[in-house]
């Protein structure tokens, strides 16, 4: 029997085409008569549109059409982008694909040019004359709710989109009344720009004769895009829209959402009856991709004399940006407030989140989506609590961990953790990093006046594997969260797999092949994985929320079981044995105790298709489809430790070590899992140290290019040390939990805790991310003077 594929680091099937330049991303496709679209975008953060003159643009040779909101309104298309998650009393002002009377952020599209080539299209955009009347803007979510702040939408008084709470306010008050120690923190979770290296792109091809729209686009979830294009943007019937996500160059959340631009490209193709391509420039991407985070938070923790947590109180202003993006309302609520128990037994929690409109790009899911924000609040507070109580940060965490025998554990904020061993991961990480020796070294450095050493812990939990559909339905999702998985065993015994998960770098073609090949006992090269195509794949919800393996992979595991069960019936018939006596192993059906009486799955597949000799009641063919709805979220966890040195003279931070012990359940392909962690950690360190989307008070994005938005580069990072514990997920057939977001969830808190630990001798308790040398230097020197 071949070595088990599940659990082995086989090379990726995706790679040969990508490393030879043959893989095709959306912008790589070229169709006959293809035209190019370019958007005219608001240069103002907030302005009234008094008029738009497109005449000069329309006359430019090579221009095929120039359209504004008036044209969209005259068409049969509804022309809006909708919100896919509703909360009680949420305000959902309309979001037209082209702004008509008002622009609300820099980058808001007001007109589109379609031309014979992309150069002409951009020339023509410059000839569009928009008469704007600028009005005051507001970009800070905490200030946007103040009296007299500029109002973005008539529907949303004081710019409040929603005022949401979870937990027990009275119980928390009581906890604080009886507290011996209190820890408090005020923080900003810095606004981030996802920056997938492939900018968003759409190539729409409307066929007038059939009424069929083929839309290649940068999508993490083609069926969601088809659904929303049909319902809200274009008005075409769903079955007349074919969405294809070809190779997709990274997403990190930004390609989940339904944006105006892709809908505009499709709408233009419907008007012109020609293929229309739109591809964002980097500055367009930075202006219009949904941003991440942007919270202003006050959090307090009450503890008893032994450092045991009694209660937690959190108030957050979460920026929504100018409009509610697709899943925006869920991110700072059900993916944030519900995570505030962390790895700890916290008897009373209350969290209030105000979702606020601001004159900025919309904010939505970005790698981790709510969970990094929650982890940051809880883990920063744990370090503050350690200072308050005089306990070591590792010790105070240990005292408050949910014990291993307490699972399933019901938190005070809705989630029920299914499994975990938090002590185990912390102990392992401390041992690997040499925690005690590092503390010793830290003391020595302080005594000798050497540059201070900082050790930062982040003992994180995440809820992923999104998600049980009925549960998210009660929470406001206008979507299901199950996943589809179809397996077709062909007459020759080779296999095609169709998954509703939609990879954009995760390696599904490899890992899903491993799952299916193992279960069916065929070679991994005998399995082809098809994803990202609404005409080929059964409806599915796509890839985000670390859900592909746990939900999409589980769908395939169940389909494989169905294939085997049908195969067993056919084999029993062919082998003239009782069904219960037929076993299946390593691709062979055989009669128990008589291994020579066997039929390979390939032989059974042929029998199934020939249908010459099937048992009564058995249909021909050998294929199975599963729509797998998970029983619960999954709960990966772990301990990350950052070790840094801070140079007081310059404020610069040197990362000496970064060590992560993660528990993501069973691991399908360790190489790919490690790669996901590397990337996630790098993004989290980017948030902690360098990245920030900055708007000025007028709503101008000051970090619109890669020159001023600092992404981590190769020389800014070192090697991360990874280790694992394995606590399988108890409720899915693979025992997997998901790994896509873990790194980005854990690492900001680990890094900031490390730097604050180093700065403790200076009396510095908190600096907001990103911890640029300037901010660190100022903090050191201001403390020095006071």
């Amino acid at each position: 029997m071949a070595a088990k594929l599940f659990g082995s680091s086989i090379r990726r099937k995706e790679d040969p085409s990508l490393i030879t330049g043959k893989g095709k991303y959306t912008d790589d496709f070229k169709l006959a008569r293809m035209a190019y679209a370019s958007m005219a975008r608001s240069p103002y953060g907030h302005a009234r549109i008094k008029g738009i003159d497109v005449e000069r643009a329309a006359k430019l040779p090579g221009v095929l059409g120039v359209y504004t909101a008036k044209d969209v309104r005259k068409s049969k298309s509804p022309g809006v982008v909708p919100v896919g998650w509703l909360l009680p009393d949420i305000k959902t002002p309309p979001h037209p694909i082209l702004a008509h009377d008002r622009v609300r952020y820099v980058g808001d599209a007001v007109a589109v040019v379609v031309a014979e080539d992309r150069y002409i299209a951009r020339d023509a955009v410059d000839l569009i004359d928009v008469d704007y009347e600028p009005v005051s803007a507001v970009v800070d979510p905490a200030r946007a709710v103040e009296d007299g702040a500029p109002q973005l939408h008539d529907e949303a008084e004081k710019n409040i989109a929603f005022d949401w709470e979870i937990g027990d306010r009275a119980a928390v008050e009581a906890a604080f009344d009886s507290a011996r120690h209190k820890a408090r923190i005020q923080l900003r979770n810095n606004r981030l720009i996802p920056n997938a290296i492939e900018p968003r792109s759409a190539l729409a091809d409307f066929d007038d004769s059939t009424g069929q729209l083929t839309l290649r686009m940068t999508s993490q979830n083609p069926h969601i895009h088809r659904l929303l294009m049909s319902l809200a943007s274009l008005g075409l019937p769903e079955h007349k829209i074919h969405v294809i996500a070809p190779e997709v160059g990274g997403g990190f959340g930004s390609k989940i959402h339904h944006y105006p631009d892709e809908a505009i490209a499709a709408w233009c193709s419907m008007q012109l009856k020609r293929p229309v391509k739109w591809t964002a420039t980097r500055s367009e991407a930075n202006l219009t991709d949904a941003h991440g985070r942007d919270h202003v938070t006050t959090a307090e923790m009450a503890l008893d004399a032994d450092g045991k947590i009694l209660g937690l109180r959190v108030k957050t202003y979460a920026a929504m940006g100018a409009y509610l993006s697709t899943f925006a309302p869920a991110i700072p609520t059900y993916l944030y407030g519900t995570l505030l128990s962390g790895q700890y037994t916290i008897p009373a929690i209350h969290c209030n989140v105000i979702g606020v409109f601001t004159n900025t790009a919309p904010v939505d899911a970005y790698r981790g989506a709510g969970r990094p924000e929650a982890t940051y609040v809880v883990e920063r507070l744990m370090d503050q609590a350690a200072r308050e109580t005089g306990l070591d940060p590792a010790e105070i965490r240990r005292r408050n961990f949910v014990p291993p025998d307490a699972f399933p554990f019901q938190t005070q904020v809705a989630l029920q953790y299914d499994s975990g061993n938090y002590q185990g991961a912390l102990a392992r990480a401390q041992e690997l990093v040499g925690y005690d020796q590092l503390r010793e070294e830290q003391r020595r450095r302080v005594e000798n006046g050497e540059p201070p050493l900082g050790i930062g812990l982040s003992t994180y939990i995440e809820a992923c594997g999104l998600a049980p559909s009925a549960v998210v339905g009660t929470l406001g999702a206008q979507a299901g969260q199950w996943e589809s998985g179809e397996i077709r065993v062909h007459p020759t015994g080779s296999v095609t797999v169709y998954t509703g998960s939609s990879a954009h770098g995760q390696g599904h073609e490899t890992t899903f092949s491993q799952i299916v090949a193992d279960r069916l006992g065929v070679g991994v090269d005998q399995v082809e994985v098809i994803h990202g195509d609404t005409d080929k794949v059964p409806f599915g919800w796509g890839t985000y929320g670390s859900r592909s393996a746990a939900v999409g992979g589980s769908a395939l595991a169940v389909s494989a079981e169905k294939i085997i069960e049908k195969g067993r019936k056919i084999a029993a018939h062919v082998l003239e044995a009782a069904e219960e006596d037929v076993e299946f192993e390593a691709g062979k059906f055989f009669v128990r105790g008589v291994p020579s009486k066997a039929q390979a799955i390939q032989e059974i597949a042929l029998q199934a298709y020939l249908a010459h000799n099937l048992p009564p009641g058995i249909e021909p063919g050998l294929a199975a489809t599963t729509f797998y709805d998970p029983a619960n979220f999954t709960f990966p966890f772990g301990t990350h430790i950052a070790v840094v040195e801070v140079e007081p003279e310059t404020g610069s931070i040197r990362i000496l070590r970064y060590l992560a012990v993660d528990d993501v359940g069973n691991v399908i392909n360790p190489m790919i899992v490690d790669g996901q962690l590397h990337g996630g950690i790098a993004q989290g360190l980017g948030q902690a140290l360098w990245e920030e989307a900055v708007y000025d008070e007028n709503g101008q994005l000051m970090t619109g290019e890669l020159l001023d938005y600092a992404l981590p580069r190769a020389h800014m990072l070192g090697n991360f040390e990874l280790d694992r514990t394995v606590t399988p997920c108890p409720h899915n057939p693979l025992g997997v939990k998901g790994v896509g977001e873990a790194g980005a969830i854990a690492s900001p808190a680990a890094m900031v805790n490390a730097v604050m630990d180093a700065l403790a001798p200076y009396g510095i308790a908190h600096i907001d991310m990103p911890l640029t040398p300037e901010k660190v230097w100022r903090a050191i020197h201001q403390k020095g003077r006071s």
Binding site: I19, T20, E247, G250, E705, L706, A714, H715
Partner: protein, 165 residues
């Protein structure tokens, strides 16, 4: 329109192009060599890196006409006789890519490094690749991929004469 003649991946091309056409658009749209990707149009991300007379350049900030009479190598021209270049093998073996979008540029930037320094250490590799952004990998496996390729180069040279690259 202006004449431009260049040898790309060993094949000579003569075209009339608008003077403002970027090299990357020439490669992608005139020659259908879509392996060279565009990530920023400002030479900051490196996705569009190609070799110009053997040196790594960002093809998004060069005009096609500036490359007149030059030799260009794109990712499509790296494999020889259908055999992958050691860098391509290195990226495959070491999981040096996830979404793959930055990969062609990353490989060609690494090619430039290895042509100058056959045995770079980790910090030399990281420094040489700082003009190329990757958002997926955190660079760790990219460094390993380049080390892998450098090792293959040494092995081949050691085995008697074959040029490692």
């Amino acid at each position: 329109m202006q004449d431009v003649r260049m040898r790309v991946n060993g094949t000579e091309h003569l075209r009339k192009v608008p003077p403002r056409m970027l090299l990357v658009h020439f490669l992608r749209e005139e020659l259908d060599l879509t392996g060279t990707n565009v990530g920023c149009e400002t030479s900051l991300c490196g996705a569009c890196t190609v070799l110009l007379d053997g040196m790594a350049v960002k093809s998004c900030t060069l005009l096609a006409v500036q490359v007149h009479e030059c030799e260009v190598t794109t990712i499509e021209g790296l494999a020889e006789d259908g055999r992958m270049h050691p860098l391509q093998k290195g990226f495959w073996e070491e999981h040096g890519l996830q979404c793959g979008y930055c990969t062609p540029g990353m490989i060609l930037a690494a090619h430039d490094l290895l042509s100058r320094n056959a045995t770079p250490d980790e910090s030399e590799i990281r420094s040489a690749l700082k003009g190329n952004l990757c958002r997926c990998t955190g660079y760790q496996n990219i460094v390993k991929a380049v080390q892998h390729a450098a090792g293959m180069g040494r092995e081949q040279t050691g085995k008697g004469g074959a040029d490692g690259r």
